[in-house]
């Protein structure tokens, strides 16, 4: 009985809206089933935001993932003092929340035309502008990486903590060197977590809207990000056809779903050696 309000809420605010999206994408104005809007996604101009957003998501997931992983390694197995670890984790807790609009402005203040870094670099002869602009895909990538790093730190720290000291000692005792230990013991054990992390980072980037909206939202190149394309489709005065917007949204959901499915399959394989229920 106490579970009813929860499920009712999920129904009203999550499931029904999701159904509405699918309805809008698959039914035309006469409520007939149609694939036209979904098929349109496979061609220009709609296919390119998908491709570029996927690219951006992969790039930032990998970049943020690598940097975050090394940071997580540093504070767990790197021999740093506990106070450094705690401070880093606290900082990452805040930094991973620092997304959206403020992040965009922070990056603009850092690498915008009149910003600190650009000035500093030009004073030593490196002129970033006019070729470079923070209000671009590169800017979006830099911004997304900013919050992917702490995300990764927070995900991987518990996993790295779970690597028992005895495994390392046993491996060395049996004659393994550092790289063999990583190849045969550490990475396989960490594989499930790494996969989780990557899938999460990817989905995070893929679904993000606010930061990109500020950095490239108004310009001619703004149809690089799918979420912005969705938003434009619904708020544009030119088109009165929301169906395409719904189709774009469904496309997003499908891509993330596929990612989750791929991740589940790969993770199940990587987890063969684990007991059930962990």
């Amino acid at each position: 009985m106490p579970i009813l309000p929860f499920f009712a809420f999920i129904l009203a605010f999550l499931l029904l809206p999701t159904l509405a999206i699918f309805r809008g994408a698959l039914l035309d104005d006469h409520n007939q089933l149609t694939a036209q809007y979904m098929l349109k996604l496979l061609s220009a101009p709609y296919i390119s935001p998908y491709i570029s957003t996927i690219e951006i998501s992969i790039i930032t997931a990998v970049a943020g993932g690598l940097l975050g992983f090394f940071m997580a390694w540093a504070i767990t197995l790197g021999g740093l003092p506990g106070s450094v670890r705690n401070a880093t984790l606290s900082f990452c807790g805040v930094a991973s929340n620092f997304a959206g609009l403020p992040l965009a402005f922070a990056l603009a203040a850092t690498l915008g035309r009149n910003s600190l870094l650009v000035d500093a670099l030009s004073s030593i002869g490196i002129n970033l502008y006019p070729d470079f602009s923070i209000y671009s895909v590169i800017g979006v990538c830099l911004a997304y990486t900013f919050f992917q790093i702490p995300f990764m730190v927070l995900i991987m720290t518990p996993a790295l903590d779970g690597l028992r000291v005895e495994w390392r000692e046993a491996a060395f005792n049996l004659g393994a060197n550092q790289s063999q230990y990583w190849r045969f013991v550490t990475l396989p054990i960490l594989a499930p977590s790494l996969l989780s992390a990557f899938a999460l980072l990817f989905a995070n980037s893929f679904g993000a809207f606010a930061t990109a909206a500020i950095l490239i939202g108004a310009g001619p190149g703004s149809l690089i990000i799918v979420s912005i394309a969705v938003s434009r489709e619904f708020s544009s005065d030119i088109t009165t056809n929301p169906h395409q917007g719904y189709a774009l949204a469904v496309g997003m959901v499908i891509i993330v779903l596929v990612t989750i499915i791929l991740y589940s399959i790969t993770r199940a394989r990587a987890e063969r050696w684990r007991p059930r229920g962990t």
């Binding site: 900082f91 403020p102 402005f105 518990p158 996993a159 999460l200 909206a213």
Partner: protein, 285 residues
Amino acid sequence: MEKKRTSLVAWGALLIGMLYMGIPLVATLIFSVSSKLHSVTAPTPISFSAYATIFNDPKFGAGLWFSLGAGLLTILISTVLLVPLIYWVQLRMPYLRSVIEFMTLLPIVIPAIVLVFGLLGQYRGTFLTNSDSGLYVLLTGSYVIIAFPYTYRPINTAFQAINVKVLTEAAQSLGSGWFTIIVRVILPNVWTGVLNAAFITLAIALGEFTISNALAQNTFSMYLFYMETKIYEPVAFTVVAFILTWFFIVVLQQVTKRPAQRATRERSAQLIGGAIGLPSASESE
């Protein structure tokens, strides 16, 4: 010998990450106190005029209170929904556990931008989309949904630390009804989890833009959005937003932890990571 070398590499790795994140924050801070265009060769005097401008702007306060209010309402609804749910699942329906945990993944599959248009589409023509208060309901409702992964985790963790069955049986043997049990026995024992969830929710509510924009609500971040044309004020706002986020997530969390739960090495990672709702990735058997 080996320890020393690793330590150096570790400091290096940490430094690179911290630089990546730190430089923008520092640059933002410096930028926000520059009244003239900043130049490394001709430093400008520090001026807090940008801050003064936004603090004196009534819309700043209005946006802040609006978002805090929505955040508080969100946490209220989340608590009312989640505490009985998790309690009941742990007590009577443990098989539902995996269903619920799967649902914490849904807000990742259905990002905010998709959710909000779905809501507008589903409830088109109803009071929810036709009136300001209706839109406010949609806003708060969607906040509950997107905050769900981050509110579920700490409350669930708090529940796992107590023995629900024993507490319930003890209370029942003393004559309590369900409502009393949940409110006066269970809730006080999972209070830290609820507080944890509350602070994260407030941070989320303050920073949320996508939904606010689509529903045209006057939230904190919308204030930022509408002052885009100014140069220093948005950056000052960014600093304020960061400080507020840091305040909620770190300071208040530290203060409300019970002494027995003061973070050990492992718990700190779990609490923070868990508090922002990440899937538990622990590998220890």
